[in-house]
Symmetry: C2
Subunit: 275 residues, 2 copies
């Protein structure tokens, strides 16, 4: 829970769970994270991760999170279930579900485990970025509430989609500075939400909006709690790209880099699109 | 089911399910796909996908498959469950589980849906590869049965791990020709298995084997049944890489390319390693 002066951060409100018993609780969508229909997927991811982090049997930090968006979530309350499917020596496996009025709206799995010191290596360096202060904040023509919940500053690609219908495909790749707005110290909940804070690649590739939505997303975490605390409220560098658009689905990959050049999370999703 | 002359292909034997009722059945590990301990993860993925494909309520083709390996599977029989969590208009969401003696050994989710013709694009081309016939088949010093179930021909990196302990990290990237051995026409079951047919990146990066294993894997499919049929028994091009190794986990990404240059599947996994 993060207090901004006297108030609670909207992300903490959007991911608050009222527990009825361990593994069974209630949450609700939040207007600050509204999407075209229902809530921003990142808050759905974040609240599903929180359903595990809140669980009394959870040990350690998250390493993997997969969320499948099964149906459009309506604005309002929802039910959450989190079940420890396997409690291993080094890792725990979780199965979660988000439902509205008894109908499953999202299924999810997660892996948690103890922090360990091991061999460490990155094969890639963070992208070279102009200073945060020198990049203009996003002013998108996509009118959804959740974009205003982030400070996004594109330095490769843009969030403006005005290409004519007959434009040839451009680049699907973008790079941006990314931070919560208002500022909030980084933790796994916000990192999970940020891993879905990419506009779908189809918009970028074609330069115009389309009917599309994430169907399944997977994020892997490679950070300790101490590393997230060291990041604090500083913006991340967030890159995303796509390789293939076919038969109504496209891939999307993303990386979230800390201020010190560490790759904190990698993410991938498959996106449904209409045509 | 694929017949090789008078016999059934080992992959079909390894993924055969005896159904007790819709969504509840039995399978068994197969010696042709043995790993250091228990079975090759790719056959576990493939049999979990087959548990959905076999289901009488399944429509269309798979688009996404996530498998979490919860505990070491023992050689022998196992139980499978597949449940349709959400039957949407355009996609179906599945939740699956593999258990042995009542203990969950793998959890999984899948998305299936109808084949549709839409806008189509690839931002990347298949890697340039020397002709299959000119590349030497793998002769690895890793002694596991499943490697012999594939015809692997590395043209970037190798499957031989003999670097001294104090060697600096090398490249995690490999590229190879990949086919079932004996040959088998490509379908979603074999494509799922092949998406885990990469030796863990830590071996490649450090040039030597280590105690390591996949914890969670996600594969997205971008092919129709007709495209897989057109591929037939021709080898795929399979590339894999990794970006980050930290705190006992590393990422791994892979691509499976058809003979005509189409990206048929993308895959990512997080791998646990001891030290």
């Amino acid at each position: 829970m993060t207090d901004i002066g006297e108030t609670t951060h909207p992300l903490d409100e959007a991911t608050r769970i009222d527990w009825m018993e361990p593994g069974r609780g209630h949450g609700a969508t939040h207007p600050a994270y509204g999407n075209m229909v229902g809530p921003f997927g990142g808050t759905t991811m974040a609240v599903l991760l929180r359903s595990v982090l809140d669980h009394p049997e959870r040990r350690g930090v998250p390493f993997a999170l997969t969320v499948n968006y099964c149906k459009a979530i309506q604005d309002g309350p929802f039910e959450l279930r989190a079940r420890l499917a396997r409690d291993g020596r080094s890792v725990q496996h979780w199965v979660m579900e988000l439902a509205q009025n008894g109908a499953v709206a999202a299924t999810a799995t997660a892996v948690t485990g103890s922090e360990r010191e091991t061999f460490s290596h990155q094969t890639v360096a963070a992208p070279k970025a102009p200073a945060f202060e020198t990049v203009a904040p996003l002013s998108s023509n996509v009118r959804v509430a959740w974009l205003a919940a982030y400070d996004m500053r594109f330095f490769e690609g843009s969030g403006v989609f005005e290409a004519p219908e007959d434009s040839p495909p451009g680049s699907a790749r973008t790079a941006m500075w990314l931070a919560d707005k208002p500022a909030r110290p980084l933790d796994f909940v916000s990192l999970a939400a940020m891993s879905d804070a990419f506009i779908v690649r189809l918009f970028h590739l074609r330069g115009r909006p389309a009917l599309a939505g994430t169907v399944s997303i997977t994020t892997y975490f490679y950070a300790t709690q101490a590393e997230l605390a060291a990041q604090g409220t500083r913006p991340l560098i967030a890159t995303a790209d796509a390789k293939v658009f076919r038969h109504g689905f496209h891939d999307q990959t993303g990386e979230l880099w800390g201020a010190d050049g560490a790759l904190l999370a990698t993410t991938t999703q498959t996106v449904w699109y209409k045509e």
